[in-house]
């Protein structure tokens, strides 16, 4: 590590009318280090990166790159000084090749302005071999796995001469194997003298990869630590401001009668192909069945069929001994099936409704919230006040617009609603996605408490740790099928990861990664 700083941000303050997103934030990133920024949602880590990249101007404070104060606050100014951002959501054109995507927007010209494809391909090949990216410039994006797409994004910023790479939650979409490969690449970049800023909420990754860590809380810097000299527990405490239970303790399950039985379940997607094929599952009361899998392998569709949102083409769903295949969502709810949907804004909430109105969604037609077709505003309000209190929803305003809650509080709202009323079966899809560490702890303990009270829980999650911590048994989905089933505790992350990518040969590493953690995307993308 050299003495020079790649990035020095001093006293950055960014105000929004309802929040102070950054409050006199200082950030020092040394040349050639991997610097992690961790913090809960709303802690201001995205804001500080947006300020650095020029997407939003700060109200106060200064930014120096390479010891020189940055004059403008536009992305172009940052890019000129060698800052590059790898976004969480990839921005690639599916029908173009790797090389074409890389040069898009900065096309090399020759002979007037003919696109110099050869030069682009050569440059991509060169960058790819330099950092071990295993990219073929002539591959079409639509044939690449998520991990490879991310590498294309990395090459894009390298191609534009980035010396400081900002990666925003880069591991969220990757399988464990892909994460490991990404880390190899990032280390290679560091060896080559590039500086890396890494935003994440996964503490293991931070400790594994980062040199130094800036922890943010409530818009301020809660501390800067060296990765070698800290622990997960300490980081969590700095992030949340109190001691956090990182791994809930789980008592032995005492399963009872089968609550959910799924037999030979199939469903057909928009293009006529099977999105689910012959699924067999059983969840007993007092038990959590975890479904692991890379996103887009039929988990969404499975949840939709079970909750009545999608029709099954074959097979059966049985809840509490009653055949419920292809019942309506309302019938399923009235049978005691609760559902935490994977996409809270698209499915789980009506943004524009108040918190109180959202807290009755799905039960709004039943007593005490409605009787004889009229809403009972008093009962709705009491209900809202009780759940807000019990689940510590903030702000504590039943009449506030749910759209103005933070992501974590929106998720808490849904969890509060779906847990309430003692469901027989809870289908929890990505219940902690985008949720703070403190709230994750809450959701996890709540799930276990519900289990111990006798609910059957079907847990779908892309977070392997979540699946492994909570599940009494684990099923792995790939390509619309269940490809493996394990007893909880009897399986390692490694083994699960292999099953998630379709079984043997998937993790041969390097160039073989194309064995694709992903089914044909157009079939699955019914979201």
């Amino acid at each position: 590590m050299s003495e020079r700083h790649a990035v020095q941000m001093r006293g950055i303050t960014k105000r929004y009318p309802r929040a102070l997103a950054n409050d006199r934030v200082d950030l020092d990133v040394e040349v050639g280090e991997v610097h992690a920024i961790v913090g809960e949602n709303g802690a201001g880590k995205s804001t500080i990166m947006k300020v650095l990249y020029g997407l939003t101007p700060p109200d106060e404070g200064s930014i120096s790159l390479w010891g020189k104060e940055l004059s403008g606050h536009r992305p172009a100014d940052a890019i000129r000084e060698g800052v590059g951002m790898v976004h969480q959501h990839f921005m690639l054109v599916d029908t173009l090749t790797v090389a074409e995507n890389v040069v898009l927007g900065a096309e090399p010209c020759s002979h007037g302005c003919l696109l110099d494809v050869a030069a682009a391909r050569e440059r991509v090949r060169q960058l790819s071999s330099e950092y071990g990216l295993s990219l073929d410039p002539d591959d079409l994006i639509e044939n690449l796995s998520v991990g490879l797409e991310q590498r294309v994004e990395i090459v894009k910023v390298l191609y534009r001469g980035a010396k400081i790479l900002i990666l925003d939650e880069p591991t969220g979409v990757l399988t464990p194997q892909e994460v490991r490969e990404l880390f190899v690449i990032l280390r290679a970049l560091r060896e080559a003298g590039r500086t890396i800023i890494f935003i994440t909420h996964k503490l293991e990754e931070v400790l594994e990869l980062a040199d130094r860590i800036t922890v943010m809380r409530d818009g301020r810097v809660a501390g800067v630590v060296s990765a070698a000299a800290t622990t997960k527990e300490e980081l969590a405490r700095m992030m949340v401001g109190r001691d956090v239970l990182l791994r809930v303790t789980r008592e032995e399950a005492r399963p009872g009668e089968p609550v959910l039985q799924v037999a030979g379940l199939s469903a057909i997607g928009r293009k006529g192909s099977h999105v689910l094929e012959g699924i067999d599952l059983e969840v007993r009361s007092g038990e959590i069945l975890g479904v692991a899998g890379v996103q887009g392998n039929g988990q969404t569709e499975l949840v939709e069929v079970i909750t009545g949102l999608r029709r099954a083409s074959a097979g059966s769903v049985t809840v509490c001994g009653r055949e419920t295949t292809n019942r309506s969502p309302r019938q399923m709810r009235d049978l005691g099936v609760a559902h935490i949907p994977e996409d809270r804004q698209a499915r789980g909430l009506v943004l524009g409704f108040t918190v109180a109105e959202n807290l009755i969604l799905g039960r709004h037609h039943r007593k005490p919230f409605s009787s004889r077709g009229l809403l009972s505003l008093d009962d709705i309000r009491t209900h809202a006040e009780r759940l807000i209190e019990e689940h510590d929803l903030r702000p504590r305003d039943p009449d506030g617009d749910a759209g103005h809650l933070s992501g974590g509080n929106q998720q808490k709202l849904i969890v509060a609603r779906e847990f309430d009323g003692g469901p027989a079966l809870l289908v929890a899809s990505q219940p902690t996605r985008g949720v703070d560490i403190g709230a994750i702890e809450f959701v996890h303990t709540s799930l276990l408490r519900m289990r111990d009270q006798g609910a059957a829980i079907l847990l779908i999650s892309a977070e392997l740790t979540e699946i492994m911590t909570l599940s009494d048994s684990i099923a792995v989905m790939y390509g619309g099928k269940i490809v493996a089933q394990f007893e909880g505790g009897a399986v390692g992350e490694e083994e699960l990861g292999v099953a998630m990518t379709g079984g043997a040969g998937a993790s041969a590493g390097g160039s073989a990664v194309r064995s694709d953690g992903r089914p044909p995307r157009h079939e699955m993308g019914a979201r």
Partner: protein
Amino acid sequence: MSRFARLSQLLSPLVAVAASFLVGGLVVVAIGENPFHIYAILFRGAFGSVDAIGLVLFNAVPLIFTGLAVAFAFRAGLFNIGGEGQLYIGAFVCTLAGLAFGGLPALVLIPLLILASAAGGALWAAVPGFLKARFGVHEVINTIMMNFIAVGLTSYFVINMLREPGQMTPQTSEIAFAGHLPRLADSLSLIGIPLPQANPLNFSLVLALGAVLLAWYILYRTTLGYEIRAVGMNAKAAEYAGINVRRTLVMAMVLSGAFAGLVATNEIMGFRHRFLDNFSSGLGFMGIAVALLGKNTPLGVLLAALLFAVLNTGALEIDIFTDVPRELILVLQAVTIILVVVGNEVFARRVAAREGRAAGVPLPVTEASGETK
């Protein structure tokens, strides 16, 4: 909603109205007249006498109904352009019932005709509602088509089969007297308001005010209203919540059409007492503008309908007493609507800029390279 958002929500229509008067004034200057003079005449025409105010209210009544119709459907995410057709069918059914059940006493016939008006409009709106719910066909196209059918059909029946005997005018005979809604002049004189006997203002005004309340009540106090709003704001979440989205869409259209059909209480039961071919001349379409200006809230619709009625009523005066064409009022109304729509966008963006990001909504990526995936 923050105070800023709420304030701009309230202010933007007012600013738009003020700005449109400014633009209208410039037009008046451009044709060589004095805008202050013209506006003075306009407001005298609308507020200069009890008679004038009565006329304003009378003109506001059908706009309240059609405005409510548009606003109500909009709450379910539907754009009901078919108010015109729905009010024709409502008026037609009302007239038929008024002709057929002449023997009934007023106490029975009046409620019956009110129901007939609403039912006619509801029926006509149910068709595009059903087509939307069942086949996903866009309601805008079908409500427009239903307008043509309604105007054409009623015209055919009135001219060829129901024309008043011995008349050239394409109109039906008068409905039974028991089905007439009384004018308000007599009742108002009891409390000392000297509304002339000839003023057409009638009890339909009371019904219109009731409809405003009813629309509000349905939307915010009933389970159905909750479901309608849920479907309108997020149909996928509504489906997830077990709401029958298709049924809710049809119900919203039916109620919307019923509001439009109630125009007949003013035009037929309260005023003409008969169906005249082509009587509406765009009341249904004006409803769209009224709902837009009223931000699709029942109270907003009431206020916007009053404003439009003021302009329409005052326009007559301008026509009579000045060289300025009354079409100026059309310009004014159109400019108001454009400014409201533009104002909505501008305010929405400013509100989003001020709070959306703070509330954790991700910024749209504004990178130099504009690829998307």
